[in-house]
């Protein structure tokens, strides 16, 4: 068996030029997949952390009722004794902090013109302790202790449509939890660019206290939990879920992935693109190698005839040709993994950026992740492709008529 492997291995290097061409093609395919996949993974990972850091957090706690029905009045499915729930959660391992939030909506007016806002109310100290900082294009974050004046952050799009700047005043109108109309004057502390144009056109943020006064409620919509690392999400969720069982209102614990619809869409899209690229490489290698392998087999007709005359089982011939192709594939994969990683490292070192994709307002840096799973997957793609490509030549070789093969010139 050792000698047989040796024979296959030496045959791989028999026609140097042809082998180099095949290795270049196979290696190029693998390197391409590594670069594309590594970049996709980098973007997806980046989007994940971005999504979490933008305020999604790792876990979110809602009342069970929140998912059962729509609110008829603001906060009527909110968390009642949220401070107690927050305290319970905070004691969990991996938990870095808990931030209460209120999601509400209403009208914003500059006296002449009004528009709809999607508001969120936060405790600035809790947010910043979790590293959730709004992306300010000007101004500053909400201050923890408002002295009289109610402060607000608004989206860049909303500021433009209202014709206001930092320091200007606006009036917010909202329906309270009792169903009455209430209003509050706010001063713009900062302008926010979330990275998504559609969000920027509706974005408004005030402090939790201000919102509770405006909405006449001491409830919150949800609690956002920040962990020490994204990888600990499942562990922390498993630990916290039983602790939430004892609360007066039934609670629901959601992981970030359950709430990151956009992230999932993007991830699925890139997985699809990568699968497509993999298929292209697979068929490209298959088509190109069938031809090369047939040619190589044809040139070795007399040698095959000789081996068959000496009583070599036909299955050995099939195995030999397939082994040679598989070895070629493996060598090409190694070349591709080495080349792809080198290229990737080079790209990472160069600090290249690419223009912001549609929907995003921040440019993405060109960075490639080195992922072992990707290297194994891409290598398997080309190895399987070459092995498949060799089936036809191998079977043809094994079926050669011995006397004719020996007379072949």
């Amino acid at each position: 068996m050792g000698k047989f492997l040796l024979l296959a291995f030496r045959n791989v290097f028999r026609n140097r030029r042809r082998t180099v061409m095949t290795l270049l093609m196979v290696g190029g395919g693998v390197a391409g997949l590594l670069l594309a996949g590594g970049f996709f993974a980098y973007m997806i990972d980046g989007l994940r952390e971005h999504t979490i850091q933008e305020g999604l957090g790792h876990l979110q706690i809602f009342t069970a009722e929140h998912f059962r029905r729509d609110e008829t009045r603001v906060l009527d499915t909110g968390i009642d004794n949220w401070r107690q729930v927050a305290a319970t959660v905070k004691s969990g391992s991996h938990v870095r902090g808990v931030a209460p939030r209120i999601e509400f909506y209403g009208m914003v007016s500059n006296g002449a013109k009004s528009s709809v806002f999607m508001g969120s109310a936060v405790e600035p100290a809790a947010e910043s302790s979790l590293g959730f900082t709004p992306r300010l294009s000007s101004g500053r974050d909400l201050s923890a202790k408002p002295d009289g004046e109610v402060e607000a952050l608004i989206g860049a799009g909303l500021a433009r449509s209202m014709g206001v700047h930092m320091g200007d005043g606006l009036t917010l109108l909202a329906v309270t939890s009792d169903g009455a109309l209430n209003g509050v004057d706010v001063q713009i502390a900062g302008i926010v660019k979330t990275g998504y144009d559609e969000m920027d056109a509706r974005y408004l943020r005030i402090t939790l206290n201000s919102a509770q006064r405006l909405l006449q409620s001491d409830r919150v919509t949800n609690l956002v939990v920040g962990l020490d690392a994204t990888a600990n999400t499942d562990k922390a969720a498993a630990e916290l879920a039983p602790r939430l069982k004892g609360t007066a209102q039934p609670m629901v614990l959601k992981k970030w992935i359950d709430l990151a619809a956009y992230y999932l869409q993007v991830r699925n899209m890139f997985s699809g693109i990568f699968l497509f690229l993999g298929l292209i490489v697979f068929f490209m290698v298959l088509m190109a190698s069938v031809n090369t392998l047939l040619m190589a087999m044809f040139e070795r007709t007399r040698e095959i005839g000789t081996m068959l005359a000496m009583g070599t089982p036909r299955l050995w011939i099939v195995a030999l040709f397939m082994l040679e192709a598989t070895l070629t594939g493996a060598l090409g994969a190694v070349a591709g993994v080495v080349g792809g990683n080198l290229l990737g490292a080079l790209i990472n070192a160069s600090g290249l950026h690419m223009p912001a994709p549609p929907g995003l307002t921040v440019p993405i840096s060109f960075h490639v992740l080195h992922l072992p799973a990707l290297m194994i997957g891409s290598s398997l793609i080309v190895i399987v492709s070459l092995a498949l490509a060799s089936v036809l030549p191998a079977i043809r070789a094994s079926r050669l008529q011995i006397a004719e093969a020996l007379a072949h010139v």
């Binding site: 024979l7 000789t306 009583g311």
Partner: protein, 242 residues
């Protein structure tokens, strides 16, 4: 005792256009174990066809061939392969060594195919190379060997598994006269020393001086079958039974 090879009225026709060529017609031949036999005849006379049929790499269209008492026409493809593997050694006109294998590895190949253990293989390869005088060349690849040397490696490969029969189809056609004579002498020596049976073909009558039995082919028919008694120091006394 039955002969090692019994070719019983064998014909081989090849389809050609809408007709056929008769490469061999009603050839009969018996070869005893230990014989050294030449098949002589001009190009196209059917030498390769006859050797291919005896070597079980082709099938007769008429008649049958027995090897060691076994009717080869009754064997399955797998049995035929096994029979070739165990009982026959081949030497080819164009040497046909595996170019990526060294001389020793080429000689080892038939043993590998038979599944013989590594230690035994090493011993037998060394013996075979020794018997063709190429021990010093064991680790050379074919492209570093001369034509004469390559064909001697091929002979070593053909005898390494101690076959009942060695078939050599024009083994000297690609050698110069000196190497050709040496090769025939080597095969004759192996025949006498080890008792191996050789059947070889040639179209060069000059190589047949020391050949005890010559079967002459012409147009696919056996023309004559000559047994010569070679006497030391004396001439040849010929007797024909063909």
């Amino acid at each position: 005792m039955e002969p090692l090879v019994n070719v019983a009225s064998v014909s081989r026709k090849f389809p050609l256009d809408h007709s056929f060529v008769s490469a061999l017609s009603h050839a009969s031949l018996e070869v005893e174990a230990g014989e050294f036999l030449a098949i002589a005849g001009p190009s196209g006379s059917g030498k390769s066809t006859l050797l291919n049929l005896i070597g079980c790499i082709d099938k007769p269209t008429e008649g049958h061939i027995e090897l060691d008492g076994v009717d080869t026409s009754k064997l399955s493809p797998g049995q035929t392969t096994a029979l070739r593997r165990r009982k026959i050694g081949f030497v080819f006109q164009t040497f046909n060594l595996i170019p990526v294998f060294t001389a020793a590895e080429n000689v080892e190949f038939p043993l590998l195919v038979q599944g013989i253990g590594a230690g035994e293989r090493r011993r037998r390869v060394a013996d075979a190379l020794e018997s063709v005088g190429l021990s010093a060349r064991a680790n050379h690849r074919p492209d570093l060997l001369s034509g004469g040397e390559r064909q001697r490696v091929a002979v070593a490969r053909a005898i390494v598994h101690r076959p009942a029969l060695v078939l050599a189809d024009e083994p000297t056609a690609n050698l110069d006269t000196k190497n050709a004579t040496q090769l025939i002498d080597l095969m004759r020596d192996l025949n006498q020393r080890l008792g191996l049976t050789f059947i070889f073909s040639t179209h060069d009558a000059r190589l047949l001086e020391h050949t005890p039995r010559i079967v002459r082919l012409c147009d696919g028919q056996i023309e004559s079958d000559t047994h010569a008694v070679v006497l030391a120091g004396a001439g040849m006394v010929g007797g024909s039974n063909g």
